[in-house]
């Protein structure tokens, strides 16, 4: 198990390294001078050149990359216009936002986490629950309703569902405030009520897929020999389905859930835009539009970190559920 972890951590680091290099290089492939975008108003050539110098844009690319990496691990000196000494992890200074990247992230990251994680829990519970129910009541009305529900969810667009929810719950019935973000540490109730519509919208869309998957997996598992053995032993149906069938059916779902959550954490742009909340996704889009290199790099890296960690977690969970994986 330890060997497994070490090997994975190594490949994780390699992946992140590759991601950072590629996104770094890609930025320079953009046919646009990064500096001009940063001060649109009264920027003369002299000023632009000075900024370029400060940002180190005239240095060779490798040096720039090295400096950036150094900043992440040790911290570096950015120059007075950018706030001076930048402590590790230093992700640079954003001209667009006029603050250190890490400060921006400190603001928007919790927002994305607050949107995605509760939504994920909701969509997993809903999806797996519906899927299992359909499988156990195969062919009945419940099954058909559940499939219908999942089809609807899968064919919807989030901005449509979101807009609908807003219309009904915020503006017509007025039982939910206009979506906004409050830290859970300040006011849990407000936190929840500000985000609940986003959770519901995401859950509706994602649970659809999981319901279908869970149903298919459950049906397949129910026809397995070991389920028949469990019944032959005289176990109650509840035990057979809950302890024997469910655990076996759930493994592929774990993988997919991990990947979905990992990707979602990278920034749920449409959700944020629909509900007017500033999270990582929206920040990333603004950064690209504004040519804000440090911000772009940061958001790309964070997204990559999430995906990679999600993969690792999935592998560990898999090993925890299926002993055959552990020992091979």
């Amino acid at each position: 198990m330890v060997r497994f972890l070490i090997k994975r951590l190594l490949s994780v680091s390699l992946t992140l390294f590759a991601v950072s290099v590629v996104s770094f290089l890609m930025f320079f492939a953009l046919p646009r001078d990064p500096v001009t975008g940063m001060c649109p108003k009264n920027c003369n050539a002299e000023r632009l050149e000075r900024v370029r110098q400060e940002l180190g844009l005239n240095d060779p690319k490798v040096e720039q990359y090295a400096a950036y990496m150094k900043g992440i691990f040790v911290g570096r000196d950015l120059g007075s216009a950018q706030g001076g000494k930048c402590e590790a992890p230093c992700l640079g200074y954003s001209y667009v936002n006029s603050e250190a990247v890490t400060d921006t992230l400190g603001r928007v990251l919790p927002v994305t986490l607050s949107i995605v994680i509760p939504a994920a829990i909701l969509w997993l519970l809903l999806g797996v629950g519906l899927g299992m129910l359909s499988a156990l009541r195969r062919g009945t009305l419940i099954d058909r309703l559940a499939i219908g529900f999942s089809l609807t969810g899968a064919s919807m667009q989030l901005y449509f569902v979101g807009a609908l929810l807003l219309l009904i719950f915020t503006y017509q019935l007025k039982i939910v405030p206009v979506p906004h973000y409050t830290s859970i540490l300040d006011n849990p109730l407000d936190w929840a009520s500000g985000l609940v519509l986003a959770w519901i919208a995401l859950a509706f869309l994602f649970s659809a897929i999981y319901a279908r998957l869970a149903r298919a997996q459950m049906l397949e598992t129910l026809s397995e020999d070991f389920v028949r053995t469990a019944r032959a032993k005289g176990l109650a149906k509840r035990t057979v389905y809950g302890r024997h069938a469910l655990r076996a059916a759930i493994t592929p779902l774990v993988t997919i859930a991990g990947l979905d959550v990992g990707a979602a954490l990278g920034g749920t742009v449409i959700t944020e835009t629909t509900f007017g909340i500033q999270g990582l996704g929206r920040t990333a889009v603004y950064a690209v539009r504004g040519g804000d290199l440090p911000m772009i790099m940061a958001t790309v890296l964070i997204a990559a970190v999430f995906v990679v960690i999600a993969n690792l977690v999935v592998d560990l969970l898999y090993a925890a559920i299926d002993p055959r994986v552990r020992l091979s």
């Binding site: 397995e224 020999d225 070991f226 053995t229 032959a232 032993k233 005289g234 076996a248 299926d322």
Partner: protein, 339 residues
């Protein structure tokens, strides 16, 4: 729980199992009757589509009532389980009657240790038992079935066992509650022949010790000849021949049984002669041939075979039953000629 009174522990009368499928009605079991006494072994022989596995699942009440219609009588210790509430039947399963399956690797849950699965079988029928008791009993049973180092093995997973050991573990799990009836569905088909011999010996020893009734389902006549006291030959969901092992294997009177015996390669006899196969293919249960199900493949079929389903009637002795239109003298003669 051993009921009072003697007589066979299991009595099956006119069992029929029907499935309604999209392609039509499948009469997987079509009027099968037999009984098994404690301490005795009944061998059910048949190929694919004979209905032998469906029969055994019916005895345990494992058919989904929404998909299968089970009619007839299945008396377990004097109690008819057909039509009995699922809760009641469940109490019998794993305690009074138990089953072991063909492939122990897929029949055991891959995610739980062997010990845990066996202990579970114990605890579900002994609600007052503590974990320690269950564990003790588990290790004891594992040792009883010949697994070395049972303490250690109980904490291992099924895929860490060899094929023979897995089947032993399954047997331990089935017998842990000292059932009166054990159904073994092709228990040795997936095993090597030397391991098969060990498992069959084990079953025999355990039967002597526990005095259980055993139903052994197989397609292998050799296996049947070794362990069965009585033999039931099934074809197309019906009984073709039923009697003592001696009768059915040495003096068979059904053309299908003749066909089976002559088509199986043996370690003795003329190795240079061609085997005598049964022509044609096993029947499709959806389109079962009318009349005698075996008639398309029977070298002695008559016009009547195509129309009338033969009745299962006693032959040379009352306990030897044969379902064939041919008169007994003709059957005896034909068999003699063929040998």
């Amino acid at each position: 729980m051993r009921p009072v009174g003697d007589g066979p522990y299991l009595q099956v009368r006119d069992l029929r199992v029907r499935f309604d499928t999209e392609d039509g009605v499948v009469r997987a079991v079509d009027g099968v009757s037999f009984s098994v006494e404690r301490g005795k072994t009944l061998g059910i022989v048949g190929e694919s589509g004979s209905g032998k596995s469906v029969t055994s699942l019916a005895v345990l009440g494992l058919h989904d009532p929404k998909r299968a219609q089970v009619t007839g009588e299945i008396l377990v210790g004097g109690r008819d389980i057909v039509g009995l509430a699922e809760e009641e039947v469940r109490r019998l399963r794993g305690r009074d009657m138990a089953m072991i399956f063909q492939d122990p690797l897929s029949a055991l849950h891959p995610y739980y240790t062997v010990g845990r699965q066996i202990a579970e079988a114990y605890r579900v029928h002994h609600s007052g038992a503590t974990r320690r008791e269950a564990r003790q009993r588990t290790v004891e049973m594992l040792g009883r079935v010949g697994i070395p180092q049972p303490e250690r093995r109980a904490d291992q997973y099924p895929h860490e066992f060899s094929g023979g050991m897995r089947q032993r573990a399954m047997i331990a799990m089935a017998l842990i509650n000292d059932p009166d009836l054990l159904i073994a569905d092709e228990p040795t088909t997936a095993l090597d022949v030397t391991v098969q011999a060990q498992i069959l010996d084990l079953l025999g020893d355990l039967q002597d010790e526990f005095d259980s009734a055993i139903i052994l389902i197989t397609h292998d006549l050799g296996v049947v000849s070794q362990v069965a006291d009585e033999v039931l030959v099934m074809y197309g969901g019906r009984v073709a021949e039923h009697g003592s092992a001696q009768r059915v294997l040495r003096q068979p009177q059904h053309p299908y049984t003749w066909g089976l015996l002559s088509s199986v390669p043996s370690l003795h006899g003329d190795a240079d002669a061609d085997l005598v196969p049964i022509r044609g293919n096993p029947p499709s249960l959806i389109n079962l041939p009318p009349g005698c199900a075996f008639h398309p493949r029977c070298p002695h079929a008559t016009d009547r075979s195509r129309v009338d389903v033969p009745e299962l009637l006693p032959a040379d002795e009352p306990s030897h039953l044969v379902a064939c239109h041919l008169p007994e003298p003709d059957r005896l003669r034909l068999y003699q000629e063929a040998r």
